[in-house]
Amino acid sequence: MLLSSVVLVLREVLEAALLFSLLMALSKQLQISQRWVFSALIIGMLGAAICGFNVDRISELFDGVGQEVLNAGMQYGIFILLCGVGVVAILYARGFAMPAYLLPVLMAGSVIVALIREGSEIMIYLSGFLLGSEQWAAMLTGSAIGAGIGVSVGAVFYYALITLKPRRVAMVGLVLLVLIAAGMVLQATELLIQADWLPADFPLWDTSALLPEQSVTGQLLYALIGYEATPTALQLGAYLTAVFLITGAVFAATRWPHADPA
């Protein structure tokens, strides 16, 4: 009981923590204020609570697939926000004049939506136990441990990023941004296939012999870049399209002619 709480909460926290750490590292690198972090965390957790308590109503929407549609929508939303983060970060680094709040708002938005997405599942899990059970203490302890491990992994990730040489941080940071964003699109597409909004098909390949999704590395890669052992053609296409779109947007930002020769 305790162990399954640890695993469950860890998995959810990990996904949000990795994105969070990446954006924090980018903020530090660009020397912009990291104060968006606090508001983002609070708003995100409030949003997760609201979502968690309304799951039954949400599930009924769209003919019984409201959960999938809303979660997919949030993940596509994060993708768009991360495209914005990439583009604005590049323009900011190149010295374009832009409102100081823009990048923090985009980053905060991404974290908030990610927290709602992951946090709501934890809330639902916890709500199952409030209905009076002896295992409550074990569940709470397990959840705290799981959250702690997830946050620690995020912290290690953050420090690994900021101790890289400045030039490297930009490259690594952007590559990770692209992969995390594409991972979101992959997961969202999978949800819509589950909801029968997108067509299902046989998978193209099966790499579970090489790297099972259930393994620790598999789970880490899933949380970070959306690793999938048995992707269908549609999922692969969505992933590649996402990579292409965000890479293209970021690349265009590096080439955008300077308006102010400041």
Binding site: S4, L8, S127, S208, P212
Partner: protein
């Protein structure tokens, strides 16, 4: 010459059109129950190679999450509720699933044949 071709084309068209109005049967439905943190039945046999609609009834009062790495599906089902999950098409084989909120007891597998 042209007239004969047109005639043939129209005949072909009117021959095929009725097929377009043939009732399109939805995917086969299968039911799964969650009771006392167990999946009932714990082995679900479904036809391979086609999309299948799973209707999962959660008879417990607490929520459960139907999850499977092999099937790539995850969905929360609140207590005393049901959920619809589409799976497949699957190649013949066994595809385990579990209840993430109670992973030691809620275990099962889909057998596609």
């Amino acid at each position: 010459m042209k007239y004969h071709l047109l005639e043939r084309a129209l005949l072909l068209l009117f021959g095929i059109m009725p097929l377009a109005f043939t009732a399109h049967a939805g995917p086969p439905e299968f039911e799964l129950e969650i009771r006392d943190h167990l999946f009932i039945p714990d082995e679900l046999r479904i036809p391979a190679g086609q999309k299948v609609k799973l209707v999962v009834y959660n008879r417990d009062s607490t929520p459960e999450e139907f999850e499977s790495y092999e099937l790539n599906r995850e969905k929360v089902i609140m207590g005393n509720s049901k959920a619809i999950i589409f799976i497949g098409p699957l190649k013949p084989g066994e595809y385990p699933f579990f209840g993430e909120f109670n992973p030691t007891t809620a275990l099962g597998k889909v057998i596609a044949e």
